[in-house]
């Protein structure tokens, strides 16, 4: 490739990157501005000084605890969905549990529009006393993510050569040991990629959280909407809260990018 072509490629790449990163930059930068700076015209492209006041307010008022709620709810439901879903996927992949159709039926559950079931679930939760509890929302997210986990892990497990498991069985493993010592290491990239996506689904979930929580376990996605008022919107709080809510996912993806890419592309190179 000539130097000229390479130069223009870089230019194009940088332009595209700037275009897509700008909204995120804007979100971050607003969170460090004073209210005056937020509304100034022409807009200030960068703040005169970094101002942490918006964050301080969130922590002082206790709003920041909603990020913790999201972390607990998304984290625990991800762990549960991964454990249950992977075992279920193993059973379907290896023992043909449920025959040909069970796997298809399971993934079809993922296609149910959440809005169609949110009110029946709400009424049920009222009866069971699960509204606005960790358990309630964790159970729901786990159930909602299970089909995805089962579907993805079934594919990864089917790709593990059966002879590897049989060899381990002959060599002295129990079925549980086979799963732990052979299937998990073989599916490591797939497990991590699936876990990250599951976590992100739960982290970003809004509808169920809006309907099923009140004050105790409000997640950050719901909290952000509290700053949209009839008279005015609290842009400073909205942006600061959004940054707090974005950071954990940013960090998780940054650390696990390698597995994420491998996990996604694993299915693509199947022979």
């Amino acid at each position: 490739m000539s130097k000229g072509t390479l130069f223009w490629r870089y230019v194009a790449a940088i332009a595209i990157t700037v275009f897509f990163l700008f909204p995120i930059y804007w979100l971050f930068i607003i969170s460090f501005k004073t209210p005056d700076e937020i509304f100034s015209f022409p807009p200030k492209w960068y703040p005169g000084q970094i101002h942490f006041g918006n964050y301080a307010v969130l922590f002082k008022d206790g709003d920041a605890v909603t990020v913790w709620n999201s972390l607990v709810v998304a984290g625990v439901s991800t762990v549960l969905a991964m454990i249950l879903g992977t075992l279920c996927a193993y059973s379907i992949a290896r023992f043909r549990t449920g025959g040909e159709n069970l796997a298809n039926w399971i993934i079809s559950q993922r296609m149910v529009p959440p809005i169609a079931i949110v009110f029946p679930v709400f009424l049920m939760y009222v009866k069971l006393g699960l509204v606005d509890t960790y358990i309630g929302i964790i159970l729901l997210y786990t159930a909602f993510n299970l089909p995805y986990v089962i579907w993805m892990m079934r594919g990864y497990i089917q790709d593990v050569p059966k002879a590897l498991e049989e060899s381990a069985l002959v060599d002295g493993c129990t079925r549980w040991q086979v799963i732990w010592k052979v299937v998990f290491p073989m599916c490591r990239a797939g497990l991590l990629a699936t876990a990250i996506f599951t976590f992100i689904f739960a982290w970003n979930e809004f509808l169920f959280a809006l309907v099923l929580t009140r004050t105790e376990v409000t997640t950050y996605t719901v909290q952000v909407t509290h700053y949209f008022g009839g008279q005015s919107n609290f842009w400073a709080k909205i942006s600061a809260m959004s940054v707090l809510g974005t950071l954990p996912v940013f960090i998780a993806v940054a650390f696990m990018q390698k597995y994420l890419v491998r996990g996604i592309s694993l299915g693509a190179v199947k022979g």
């Binding site: 050569p161 002879a163 590897l164 049989e166 060899s167 381990a168 069985l169 002959v170 060599d171 002295g172 493993c173 129990t174 040991q177 010592k181 052979v182 290491p185 073989m186 490591r188």
Partner: protein, 365 residues
């Protein structure tokens, strides 16, 4: 006591009856090869012995104990798989040590066992590598290493050489045989390759459609096959089969081919055939039991003249295809016995070695 005893073993896969009532005893220390064409049930039989498949009927005894309901790990077996089945995320050392670690052997003992197995298989310098950094032959050595460190009672091999190229296969074949001699353990080896079966086995068990067609020492089976199937399966190129009729000739008997040629049978074979005079038989003759005829023939040889259709020199030997009693047959001749197609040659057929088969039952007479 037999190391392995199978009694009336049956295995179904859905509608397919893969193993149909197999009875087999394998004494300790024997190298048994289960051989047969694909789909004959040999791998299923091995996997059932290993406990990777459940037997539907019959019993499997290992060292006198019925193991039908025992998981593979308790059966005191080690197994080598066709595709090596090495764990790609473990180094060679850890692959070999895997079975010992699962069984909680102390690390010091493991190190010593892995080392001695690796030395035996000449893979000592590879212990630090991952499987993806190795060739097929090396991978199979590691897989064999993983089996032999286990010090099991039965060693099962499921077509271990079929993924290797021809030269490597010959090399590994002799190594497996040498290994068996050194270890003195019971080996059960599955293959579809009759050369592997002949060269490796103390005893060949030839399977056909889920049943044992014949079992015996390799040369016994080669020289005294019980059925036409066995006769045709062992040997390469395979035995020629020619429809014929048994006729009285002089004081003895001969087989008359469809082209009218009569091949006299040696007197030693006549006694058993008297009752079958004038009945159809199938004549079986191995390619290597034909040669270019000399002016005077030894007793037991029969002269046959034919035109050669095809000549295939292999270097040391030459295969000549010709019509024998109207049927295409192959003779294995000395390299220079026949030069080109369409040549007329006089062949000496060794009737001492010929087999006569009852055409309706396909059993050797």
């Amino acid at each position: 006591m037999a190391d392995l005893k199978l009694t009336q073993l049956h295995k179904h896969y859905g509608a397919v009856h893969a193993v149909r009532g197999v009875d087999l005893e394998i004494p300790a220390g024997e190298f048994t090869v289960l051989v047969g064409s694909s789909g004959c049930g040999k791998s299923t039989l091995l996997r059932t012995i290993a406990g990777l498949e459940q037997a539907d009927q019959g019993s499997i005894e290992i060292a006198g104990q019925v193991v039908n309901d025992m998981p593979p790990r308790d059966r005191d077996i080690a197994m080598v798989f066709q595709n090596y089945a090495l764990y790609p995320y473990m180094k060679v050392y850890d692959n070999i040590a895997f079975g010992l670690r699962v069984r909680k052997m102390p690390e010091a003992d493991i190190a010593q066992k892995v080392k001695s197995a690796a030395d035996m298989l000449a893979i000592g310098h590879l212990l630090d590598r991952y499987p993806r950094q190795m060739s097929g032959g090396q991978l199979q050595r590691v897989a064999i290493g993983r089996a032999i460190v286990r010090n099991a009672r039965l060693y099962l091999f499921d077509e271990p050489l079929s993924n290797l190229d021809a030269q490597l296969r010959d090399e590994m074949r002799s190594e497996i045989k040498r290994l068996h001699q050194e270890l003195g353990k019971t080996f059960i080896y599955v293959t579809h390759d009759q050369i592997e079966a002949m060269t490796l086995a103390d005893r060949i068990v030839l399977l056909r459609e889920g049943q044992i067609e014949q079992a015996g020492a390799p040369l016994d089976m080669f020289e005294r096959p019980a059925t036409q199937y066995v006769a045709g399966f062992l040997g390469s190129p395979p035995m020629n089969f020619v429809p014929a009729r048994l006729v009285a000739q002089g004081g003895g008997y001969a087989v008359r081919l469809e082209d009218g040629a009569e091949l006299a049978l040696p007197p030693a074979r006549v006694a058993k055939l008297a009752a079958r005079a004038d009945q159809p038989v199938t004549l079986g003759l191995r390619p290597e039991h034909m040669s270019r005829a000399e002016a005077a023939l030894r007793p037991g040889l029969a002269r046959y003249s034919s035109r050669v259709d095809l000549v295939q020199p292999t270097g040391s030997r030459t295969y000549a295809t010709f019509k024998l009693g109207g049927v295409e047959a192959i003779a294995e001749l000395d390299a220079h016995d026949v030069q080109r197609a369409n040549e007329r040659i006089e062949l000496a057929l060794d009737m001492n070695r010929a087999v006569l088969i009852e055409p309706s039952t396909h059993r050797v007479l």
